[in-house]
């Protein structure tokens, strides 16, 4: 059975987004992927907890797709986590609804890979900044997948962007067709 993939997209100004728009478009074209634009669904930040939890139950792979803002996600994804990943649903003694599902972070960063290294401006790698998400996955009994990271979007040429978007689509396809271990 193909894995059902839910991409939670968090970008507050999609009109101005280049990288995330391209990735989102690539994801949308992959069969079996459901793209869920959080800022579009909840312009008032009023997350519908029940609906979101139902959506999670219907999918096997959850993708957080967003630009890196201040070494983390845009605000709505944090709001989403605060509200949807409830005690008793996602974690806690009875909270096993997400057990066995996978979590993938697919993020874009303006700075180049070098800036996310010990000698660089940001000192640490994106993987390290994503630790809170990794911890979240663990607490929810989810499998943490190696993140998809697109570095240096400020300087990215259209052709390169297209290539990365194709890589992203290929990754989602692989996840979809992956056999449950």
């Amino acid at each position: 059975m193909p894995q059902r993939i839910l991409v939670l997209l968090a970008h507050p100004v999609r009109r101005r987004s280049r990288a995330n728009a391209a990735l989102a478009e690539a994801a949308r074209r992959v069969e079996g992927v459901r793209l869920h634009d959080l800022y579009d669904a909840y312009p008032d930040f009023l997350i519908d907890v029940e609906a979101e939890q139902a959506l999670l139950l219907e999918h096997d792979v959850i993708v957080f797709q967003h630009p890196i803002y201040w070494y983390s996600s845009p605000a709505i994804l944090k709001e989403w986590q605060d509200l949807v990943l409830e005690h008793g649903f996602a974690y806690g003694r009875e909270g096993t609804a997400l057990a066995g599902k996978s979590l993938l972070s697919a993020v874009t960063a303006g700075g180049g890979e070098a800036s996310y290294s010990p000698g660089g401006l940001n000192r640490r790698s994106i993987e390290e900044f994503l630790r809170p998400f990794e911890a979240t996955a663990r607490l929810c009994h989810m499998r943490w997948l190696p993140p998809f990271i697109l570095h240096g979007t400020h300087l990215l040429e259209p052709a390169a962007l297209e290539r990365h978007a194709a890589d992203y689509a290929a990754l989602l396809q692989d996840l979809r067709d992956m056999v449950e271990a």
């Binding site: 009023l46 997350i47 907890v49 605060d82 509200l83 409830e86 005690h87 806690g92 003694r93």
Partner: protein, 628 residues
């Protein structure tokens, strides 16, 4: 007398109603339908038409109205931008056609003066037919449509010098009372006539600028529709009379008046008021042309008449086609202009009568030409039936096709600009959208106009007004009127006639909201709901709820309420089911509240609830203590 009038009106109306829809259904277009209906009731058909000549004279006023409406569509700046085509294409068309027709006349052995007079007269085309066909096919704003109009405009102006020149071409002394009916103006010396003509034009321009707006404003404030209609008619009739008095073409004067008023906020309302009169009168005009065709003369010399009609159409079309190709216009445009302007015009009837009076043309020749012109009018709609196919073939050959010149239009129409619509309009304008506003409150309109809004006066439930405001091109129509019934009727009209536009509507209350959804609105907001909710949130805060929680409580309340509303709206159709659904919904509401309670949550504090987490941690700690 009045019985005779009614009987005649009955005959004409019946002929139109019986024939035109059939012609339209058969793809012949309305103009041909009217002309054929005219033939049917004419002396050579059922002979019911009475004095068709008199009717035609009256119906020519339809052409005046048509040009007034055309003028309303043309802002002065656009008219100025058209000066090239008007003088170039128009001037060349009249000059070359007159020369060609005159040359043919000479070749047939006529005196040069007669040949020239006939040439000038036959160079005129029919504004009524060409513009009516353009409008019916929606081709006014295409390149070909604009060239057609430019040529017609030049012809209208050219009538004046032609009227002046014709008496000089007289072969025999004038038979009538000398010059044509110029009234008192003919008694003035030439410089006095010039001053009178200039004065009349100035009166239309200055009067239109300065006097009509305050006058219409006062009339609009009476809120008497028929008085507004009456004053619109009065304006057009007045301009026509003034122009006639100084010997100018009434149609030209009306056109000028229209241009002057094109930037007024009453433009759309005037359009809506004059339009039906124009339509009826033009129809009547076509009927009378059909009825006036002298088939006895045609029967006497069928080949001569047919040959002349053919020759006239060919020469006129050839001149226009040659002009168009020489200036490298796209070939589909050239085809359109050539076909549309290939007939003789209504001015020809006037000029032919004038020419016989002045002894320029003998009666026999003139009446032959009247038949030729009338029949050539019949040919145009027939030719236009081939236009679509020919144009397609040409467009395929022409690469790349030139895009149609379409005036940029506002993409949002707001109907109703009171306290409600204003806020919507301000928000949209602040985001850089072009907004066309329809409202019928003079005070609002004046204030808004002084701030540069595009506001128009009128009853937004009228189809013609919506059309004039650009609803056909609008992506969105916002219905913000305060009368619930009007709102529903506007939604219905927009849904039926402008299906491309999305509709957002202001609903009065819950029941009206259902009706608005049923009428076809894509979205709606209840006018008091949002503000009441805000006040409710404020009340919660005063009662001690922290600001953010109060805000969330309000939003959650709104979400639930809207969901119920949409579900009920979809279920309303049949009464029994509706009531069932209401009960079901209220059960659902209580069920939802019940569930919230069971989870240890009331609606305003949904989210960030740590109760169960704290309990679990305490339990674990207690267990550990027990173990340890």
């Amino acid at each position: 007398m009045s019985e005779g009038f009614l009987a005649q009106a009955f005959v004409y109306l019946l002929a139109a109603v019986a024939t035109v829809p059939i012609a339209k259904r058969l793809g012949l277009g309305s103009v041909l339908g009217y002309l054929l209906a005219g033939v049917a009731i004419g002396p050579f058909g059922l002979n019911l038409a009475g004095n068709a000549g008199e009717v035609m004279h009256f119906a020519e006023f339809g052409v005046v109205m048509m040009l007034f409406l055309v003028g309303l569509e043309l802002r002065p700046a656009r008219l100025w931008a058209m000066r090239g085509p008007v003088l170039g294409a128009g001037g060349l068309q009249v000059g070359l056609t007159a020369a060609a027709v005159g040359g043919i006349g000479l070749a047939f052995g006529y005196d040069w003066r007669m040949a020239l007079a006939a040439g000038l007269i036959l160079a005129m085309s029919s504004t009524a037919i060409a513009l009516q066909i353009l409008a019916e096919r929606g081709l006014q704003k295409t390149g070909g449509g604009e060239t057609t109009f430019a040529v017609l405009l030049f012809q209208d102006v050219a009538v004046i010098p032609i009227l002046t020149v014709l008496p000089l071409l007289a072969l025999a002394p004038a038979t009538g009372g000398g010059a044509h009916d110029e009234g008192w103006i003919a008694t003035l010396p030439p410089w006095g006539q010039a001053i009178a003509v200039l004065g009349a034009v100035a009166a239309v321009v200055v009067g239109g600028r300065l006097l009509t707006r305050p006058a219409f404003r006062i009339i609009a404030e009476t809120k008497l529709r028929e008085i507004f209609t009456a004053s619109a008619l009065l304006l057009v009739v007045g301009i026509a009379l003034l122009m006639e008095a100084v010997g100018l073409s009434p149609a030209l004067g009306a056109f000028l008046g229209g241009v002057v008023l094109a930037e007024s906020e009453f433009r759309h309302e005037l359009e809506g008021d004059i339009e039906p009169f124009k339509g009826l009168l033009l129809g009547l005009f076509f009927l009378s042309v059909g009825a006036g065709i002298d088939f006895a003369q045609v029967a006497a010399a069928p080949f001569t008449v047919a040959g002349l009609v053919l020759l006239l159409v060919l020469v006129k079309a050839a001149v226009l086609a040659g002009l168009g190709l020489a200036t490298r216009r796209p070939r589909t445009e050239v085809l359109l202009t050539a076909l549309l302007l290939s007939q003789g015009g209504e001015f020809a009837f006037v000029l032919l009568a004038f020419a016989t009076q002045n002894g320029v043309l003998p009666v026999a020749e003139a009446s032959l030409l009247v038949s030729v012109v009338a029949l050539s009018m019949l040919v145009t709609p027939l030719l236009m039936m081939t236009y679509g196919r020919l144009a397609d073939r040409l467009a395929d050959a022409d690469l790349p096709p030139e895009p149609d010149a379409i005036e940029p239009q506002g993409s949002v129409v707001i109907a109703g600009f009171g306290r409600f619509g204003q806020i919507i309009g301000r928000l949209l304008m602040a985001q850089g959208h072009t907004v066309t506003v329809l409202d019928h409150d003079m005070e609002t309109i004046e204030t808004l106009r002084s701030f540069g809004f595009r506001v128009f006066y009128g009853d937004a439930s009228r189809l013609d007004l919506l059309q004039a405001a650009g609803a056909a091109e609008a992506a969105l129509v916002v219905v913000a009127t305060d009368a619930p019934e009007t709102t529903l009727s506007i939604i219905g009209t927009v849904r039926r006639h402008f299906p491309q536009a999305e509709i957002l509507a202001r609903a009065a209350d819950r029941n009206h909201a259902y009706a608005v959804i049923e009428a076809g609105a894509h979205g709606m907001v209840r006018e008091t709901f949002g503000s009441a909710l805000e006040l409710g949130v404020e009340a919660l805060r005063r009662l001690g709820l922290p600001a953010y929680e109060a805000e969330r409580a309000g939003r959650l309340f709104r979400r639930h309420d809207l969901r119920t509303l949409h579900r009920l709206g979809a279920l309303r159709g049949d009464d029994g089911r509706y009531r069932l659904a209401v009960r079901e919904a209220s059960e659902r509401l209580s069920a939802v509240l019940e569930r919230d309670k069971a989870r240890g949550r009331i609606i305003h504090s949904e989210g960030w609830d740590t109760t169960s987490l704290v309990e679990e941690v305490r339990r674990n700690a207690a267990l550990k203590q027990a173990e340890g």
